[in-house]
Subunit: 388 residues, 2 copies
């Protein structure tokens, strides 16, 4: 496989989701990623033992990497890491700020070992500022950044976004920062360390919700259920139908007209109460009752097929088991079926980054702890096992 990052060597000191997602994207783009795990394996590998089924995340995020074990508290481990740093282009870590320095691999020291290396860090709150030492995980960052206060129904307590968005969002930001730093090094010779804080990376995604503070509905609850986060689009909601729920929305007059016509409700197009987005947003409850009444008479499949056909954004609310088998994701090789050497048959994602001329595959499945230890013991051995 020849990818856009082929030939880039990465020392990967990351764990759980944030850092490992960044290095997953690198590995999928062709980089040679050496994932260093502590004795016993990193958190998600061990979590399998805890009964949480986290071997699935571990397998999802660690395709196409090389696996070695180093005890960084021992001299031997430090010496091996030093050799890897000397040979690499990028070091990625998502320890809490200060841990790398305590291990003896501060930014300053690593710069001396390899002045061309990009030092990339991600953490909950960043390496400076009053919160830098706070421990962080996805839930705490979602609470801290206001995601909980804007998720869920107005009458219910705050609730988190189901996916680990604080972690993954930081991970892909970190990937973007690393690719940018590599480009800069290539274009100008400048070597810049990069960092991303989970807390900061999620803020822009709250744009609609922040917009609510400046709109005509600003006195309403910031938890808008399935309505638009800024209450600036109507209709825009999840409506109950005969056999489940369907998301339906109209982002402009064209879509609103198509929606009304689909349901045989042409009167609504000319009725002055609903004739503009401004009017519909003002009467958001009324509009939801109308559309809810129309949707109730149909099945998910009817609504989905019928509304999409007339250009109205619509989707059934789907379970993960349906998503995992989705024909579109499989047709595009966004998901692939593999026989995992440890976990057996499973479905795993390729990279969401699609590069013209580069096949979408996972290179190889994640491997056993220390399976590529020969890379340490025989440093002259070439990286990049033959790809199946």
């Amino acid at each position: 496989m020849q990818g856009p990052l082929t030939g880039i060597k990465v020392v990967d000191l990351t764990q759980i989701y944030n850092g490992p997602y960044a290095t997953f994207l690198m590995a999928m783009a062709g980089a040679e990623v050496i994932k260093i795990e502590p004795p016993g394996g990193e958190h998600t590998r061990r979590r399998q033992r805890d009964g949480g089924g986290a071997h699935i995340p571990h397998a999802m995020l660690n395709s196409g990497k090389h696996f070695v074990v180093l005890d960084l508290k021992q001299e031997e481990g430090k010496a091996a890491l030093t050799r890897l740093i000397e040979q690499s282009d990028v070091l990625v870590e998502n320890y809490r700020p200060g841990v790398m320095a305590r291990l003896g691999f501060s930014r300053e020291h690593v710069k001396k070992l390899n002045p061309r290396l990009i030092y990339a860090s991600s953490s909950g709150f960043g390496t400076t500022g009053p919160y830098r030492d706070y421990p962080a995980m996805d839930l705490a960052v979602q609470a801290m950044s206001g995601v909980l206060s804007v998720t869920g129904y107005p009458d219910n307590p705050p609730v988190k976004a189901g996916p680990a968005i604080a972690d993954f969002n930081a991970g892909v930001h970190l990937y973007g920062a690393i690719a940018t730093a590599l480009l800069d090094r290539e274009r100008t010779g400048t070597v810049r360390a990069v960092e991303v804080a989970m807390f900061e990376a999620i803020y822009p995604a709250l744009a609609s919700n922040l917009g609510l503070m400046g709109g005509i509905n600003k006195d309403r609850s910031p938890r808008t259920g399935n309505r638009h986060g800024g209450l600036s689009i109507s209709p825009y909601n999840v409506y109950e139908c005969k056999d489940g729920h369907c998301a339906i929305l109209a982002n402009n007059e064209h879509q609103w007209h198509a929606l009304a016509r689909y349901f045989g409700q042409e009167w609504a197009i000319t009725d002055s109460r609903y004739a503009s987005m401004y009017e519909r947003v003002k009467r958001i409850e009324e509009v939801d009752e109308l559309v809810g009444g129309w949707a109730r008479e149909q099945t998910k499949d009817q609504l989905f097929a019928g509304l999409i056909a007339v250009g109205v954004p619509c989707s059934p609310v789907r379970e993960l088991s349906e998503v995992m088998r989705d024909e579109h994701l499989h047709a595009r090789n966004a998901l692939v079926e593999i026989e995992h050497p440890i976990y057996g048959a499973m479905t795993v994602p390729t990279s969401p980054l699609v590069f013209e001329g580069v096949p979408r595959d996972i290179r190889w499945p994640s491997r056993k702890l220390g399976e590529d230890q020969a890379l340490i013991d025989q440093p002259e051995r070439a990286l990049g096992r033959s790809e199946s």
Copy 2:
């Protein structure tokens, strides 16, 4: 301002959140981004008129860009776009697949105009596959990808993540793909078009939730409220306290012991029912009742200060108005106060990508529709107004 993308010229044909967030990250890294809006302005600029307060998102995402108006349905507009394409490094668009071709700017045609240009596209479902023509917006993609089915409380209907995560997550993936393609062009001379689909980009973030299918709790609802999405960590929840809600979690034995000790409940450390993550996950209700009882006696501020001090991840559930004034975000210049030329005093984010040696600022605030039209009328004019 000298950033890692200084000198990179970008034709920006994007709208709403997905594409504009990608070009925002480019502008903040120093690229010269020319944002092309249709007569009347792009969606979020116009949405202000709709009463939704969306001028705040528009201001947040369009700092540091240049603003021109082109009617791409007219020959004059097409000719101006052609000239811009000939002079640029990247074209970014997030129209529905097919729209660029209908406007006369297909990938193939643009390649002829400028063989060195990176053609970057983002859409709901991608440019191939059975769903390619489906209209998409954040809510529909959240429903389609299963985000709704895993968000909210088990006893309530499915609900979306409050922030527009499908949009923004795709936008930052698109940024990563573009930076990678620019690096590839620089290193090898290869020019690759890139694309990202919102539907695909959100899948990896569901890792914990997908993991639930393989864990000891697999028969439970996929909507876990504020519990861990894979039900593989306990305690991990949002607990009611004297004056609000607090997120508290213990990701390992060390944190569990510190938590129990903080509440004066040393007995729980040695009690065999709670002595390992496996046992606690098995008794997840019992553990939540215990911790919930301990937390109820304290205030948000007490819990936050006390638990953070002993190394336990914890955060009060905060409102956006608190987040916007957060001392840490301001100390790090992740948020800055500006006097916006159209909207007045406001708080806007800088880029979450932090590059060593590059100050964090917004370069300049978003501008009026067509304010930089001279870039079209006098193409010889240099880009990059003096930065304040």
